[in-house]
Symmetry: D4
Subunit: 217 residues, 8 copies
């Protein structure tokens, strides 16, 4: 059998390196892939790393960083070295923190430090209205919500920046798995918000990065 092939040229084409999807790979395969990155002297990011896999990886790479809440694993992570970037990560509630951190660590892997603002869901609308001036200062907003997913719709009617909505798999009944939030975000037709897959914090971060890169030119 062929062995794996990292797409090491992706950064030249799209501006950011390949990211490793951890959920469906065995721990052994991930370790092998990470050693390839280490040989090249590159940092690496693995997403959706289940808790036991995370422990296994930490035992192999003790200097690495594993955030159990968001299931994110980075070979190297130094908060102090990150650069401000004007990207705000907004979430309806503390139940969404696992996605908030997936966005945060993906941007950290790309060298950027984003801000995290939590608990401004639409059920307590005034908490959101009080923070509008703060939110106006960001260049890009990543907005996360589960259940009925109304937060990006409301923000989309109040603020002019690019808005990337992330449905979170938080809820039960018709909200189970994040499907109601996803459809609600997509259905919100009037305001130019865009959407990524349920729980795809990593993809939202990359989409924000694509905009950030244009702004840097």
């Amino acid at each position: 059998m062929d062995s794996f092939q990292i797409d090491h040229k992706r950064i030249d084409r799209v501006g950011f390196p390949e990211i490793i999807y951890g959920a469906s790979k065995t721990s052994e395969v991930i370790v092998e892939i990470l050693q390839d990155y280490i040989r090249k002297g590159d940092n690496a990011l693995v997403t959706k790393v289940q808790e036991e896999k995370g422990a296994y990886l930490m035992s192999h790479f003790p200097k690495a960083h594993f955030d159990a809440l968001s299931s994110m694993f980075l070979l190297e992570y130094e908060e102090a070295k990150l650069q401000d970037c004007g990207i705000g990560i907004i979430a309806a509630g503390t139940s969404d923190l696992f996605i908030v951190n997936e966005v945060y660590y993906t941007l950290a892997y790309l060298g950027l430090k984003a801000d995290r603002i939590v608990d401004i869901g639409v059920a307590g609308l005034y908490r959101l209205l009080e923070k509008l001036d703060l939110l106006k200062q960001y260049k890009v907003l990543v907005v996360i919500a589960g259940f009925e997913g109304a937060l990006p719709t409301v923000i989309g009617g109040l603020l002019p920046q690019p808005i990337i909505a992330v449905p979170a798999s938080v809820g039960y009944g018709v909200a189970a798995g994040g499907k109601a939030a996803l459809d609600s975000m997509l259905a919100s037709c009037a305001n130019g918000i865009t959407v990524v897959n349920i729980d795809n914090g990593c993809g939202a971060a990359l989409a924000a990065y694509r905009i950030y890169s244009q702004l840097q030119r």
Copy 2:
């Protein structure tokens, strides 16, 4: 074959008479049923009456009232005789008017006059906030929205009354048929709003009437 049997005792049991569902009945059958009501001296309401059927019914009962927008047909309708009831019908936009009127005419059939407040969707949130004091005065709110259906969620976080949410089949793509609005309203878990079937303005009116009746006791 048996002929049809009107449930004439329903009013004694549940407080309001049987209402005729028009969409799947032939015009001939509806006429026959209506003549039964006329014989008993009762008013009658037919819902979801397609346009051609409405014309056919009007040609048989020229003194009746047909609202083409909401597909509602009443044997008798006199706005002047209706009583104020403290029920507010709120809709996100003018696209939802066909359901607004279905609620309105169902309550009219029961002798009540409800208020209609349109175009306060969440995309233009300040229009809603400016009307909060007005909305606070109603005893029951029927809230209608299509697309992402966020309006009842937002109102549910701002106002204390009973709220009956009606998803409207307004939208396209994932919003087609009203399914995204329905799921969004059901998923909105924190605030005690209740939901009826998509486009079921009649049912929402009856639910409001059940509360109204309790308040009258």
Copy 3:
């Protein structure tokens, strides 16, 4: 990162305080939130608390109350202090008890004592008919059913009060997850029953409370 923000003003706006959704929060986050409530001298309710989390919370707050059947956690619960409220909680069978209790404890958190009437499903219709006189005395009915969810439809044709239907995730095959019961309750168009999300006993209790509050004015 921002820390969490309880919406402590919700009670002023909608008449009842914020309730904590426990299923997607870590035990540590819930403890932190509860300590905030204790500091303010407030009681708190956490819903959908998985069994291990419940044990963890009880070890931190030994005077609290945890109902494992319904996964409900209250900082304080004294049955003797609850007030009668005229709200009846009706369920098709003993399989639905976990939702019956979710409704019960939510109302208890708001200071109200509701009645629980179980095992009157439509398969044994006479059990229901025998209890009609009892049921007629309630001001609001919360009706819970899984499988085909026919109970609220049948009650809706027999009784005049406001009816809040709760589909329960009880059943298998097409009934798995409560979807058949939900659709059946929504589809029941003629009688003015309203519906909440699958397993949303808490939301049904809050909807009943909104009606109860209007009746108290």
Copy 4:
């Protein structure tokens, strides 16, 4: 190309002849098939014949019978020649008549005369209870309902005969297309009712006929 091949031996195997599904065949093909039946001296039944096709067929076979309500076409139909069979066709409302008649004419094609009892839906439960003694006399019950489809469930808890439930595509929103009724009938687990496809009156009649044949042995 091969031409069509009628399964003329089906009656020897399963006890009833092949029935022609009309909805997806062109009028020309149906005429050709019917002429094959006429050549063999056999009666023939075509189901789901759209209105224009029905007119076309009647112009070719003027002695035939076309029931526009149920879209059923029979080469020969003489009510007087039909035999009583103890099969009752029960429907929730007059909106379901198109399926009532599909069952009726399929049995007529097999030489049997069934009874039709309409308008005993669960919203007006007493209409059903008053007819229980009548219903007890049938050997087989075909029970048709749209919307939430609760009727077979209620009858299943009251009567001991074989019950074949037919979901009707009557309703809107989540009830559109008959899906909510179908799932509700399937989910009704405790009482031994069986179900056929949405709007499949013909199949329900054949299932009743299979039982009838066993009883005749």
Copy 5:
């Protein structure tokens, strides 16, 4: 709280007693219900009893019978006392045995002994054709299949008896949960087969029993 209420009069109405659905009840509740049956001197059947619950019940009622394969629990079961009934239980493969036995034990609870014929799926059609003469002798056929669920369709074209099809939750991908088999069985329009919910062996047995009872009259 009200305690449970067994529908002890069901046997008078529909000819068979209430059956206990075990999957969503706690072990304690089931024990309590069973003791009520024992007090009345009745046998009892509990369906969908998860393995640990089965062990718990057996420890309380050591003379009872628990079939782990089909998750069926009977207070009393003596094979020797069962009566032949002419009901054949047919399954496509050994993967469907858990449903085969659910049908078998439900009939056993009603005093009947059915035959079980396994491994005649349509992929090996000749195995089925070789058994046609055997199958012709049954009065009622219960036919179980997972995956694409084609077996009842094929049998429906070959044999004249009443056929009750049971989709089994056997398969993966689009067949996961039994949905493909269910839809395939319902869609099979031409032959008068009827269908019950996925994995509802108990309901299929009761449906067969309803026919059997008619034949006994």
Copy 6:
């Protein structure tokens, strides 16, 4: 705006030319595209051409061929010039002819003459068994069925050739749109049949052509 770009090199890469999807293009655009083909001296095939569009195209290209049954339009079609190819097109019934012909004309466009064998659905199994020797002679089988779609499964257990199954949008209720047939064909796991999209006769023909080309090498 850019104008359209035919992929004229596709034949060099994959062995057959680009085929024009007609359903969503305006008649004017199709005419323009066809004139491009005529300029190059190439034949062209347009699929899913609605009846009015077909008439419009025929008025512009009077020597072309339009098959209204299958909605297929070819600039040039001469049956006499087609070559035998050993591909058999099998369909359950005459309702499936519109797809039978879509397969037939796609292969005709590629210069091949396939055989069409209709009306051997599984409800009349002996019609199929009688033709087994005939069917054994084909090198590739394209098998079309609507409703429950069992035909490819049965053939897959009887014959050794490559089998390409095509679900047809023939049926109603759960079979509407061909979804039940599709899932049934995909779920049929044991025999190595492959599947294309619902109604995709053209794709099935191209898949057969890919195999035919390998056999020619």
Copy 7:
């Protein structure tokens, strides 16, 4: 009844004015709304205007512009006055033109001129690769595709700009309504593409405009 309320302050909040959704409004209501815009001296855009409505509007506002292909209506449109903006609209094929133009005219309404590049679907991959240098020059890419919707995924692996993917309701079977394209675009997890609702060309244009506005600052 309240009359409609245009959200005339939206442009101050989010940077672009309210856009009128035409599909569910009556022609009369739209005319009334447009007259309100004319009174204020503002241009207006109406989306999803069915053909007959478009003709009606043109008869009332003869100087307006109606693009029948995309169902877009603008009170004023002068191509010469538009400004270049570096936004590229890319589509897989000519079947997608109705969405291409919806994006184009929405940007035109905002004063911007976008480029349209059609027919570079993945089935003819080299057509795309040949245009890579051209595509690299755009600041934002709006990428439209129906059927399997693979185009944004492929472009996302080749180019670094912000990419807004629009699923088009082009296709049949599982692709009908654009659902397969939508899911495919959302599922494409590795590259930071974002998605809007099916056929939501207008929303994609607004999302592109939000990015464009940030770049102008």
Copy 8:
């Protein structure tokens, strides 16, 4: 009860023996079936064998081969004895290896040695383009992908061989369970690729074998 019946004549009819589906059978039943094969001197293949079952089987048949990655169990497996067959197994990434190996071992069971080529997903398109000459040499391609499943579409536009696409249950959100990949592969209409059920590596191998057998004649 009947005991099981292996379809030992399948190889005579379709060219390959029956394969045992392991997921829904108990370990005891599988052992019994395998002993039947051993008695006949035949090799046997069991698919979808969960890890614990695999260990149980290995303890009974220590000379057998169990591939935990793909859950495949073979009584006998000797790589050296396999024959080259010109079948290429292609996968988008290392997450798909469990299906790659299911295809590989099914072909091994039939005596064939296929090649495995991994990590050429469309996100890194150049990896695929660089391997085109290699891929051109295979007679049949089995192409596996999860997430958005675009790989078979892209390959279908580049290469002329028969292509069997296998959607893998790799992904989350809308991609969970492989449904997005399945629909995307089916929707890919223009190029004659065929599809099997999600995760059905075994079926894809048998489909490839059917083509291989034709080529051998």
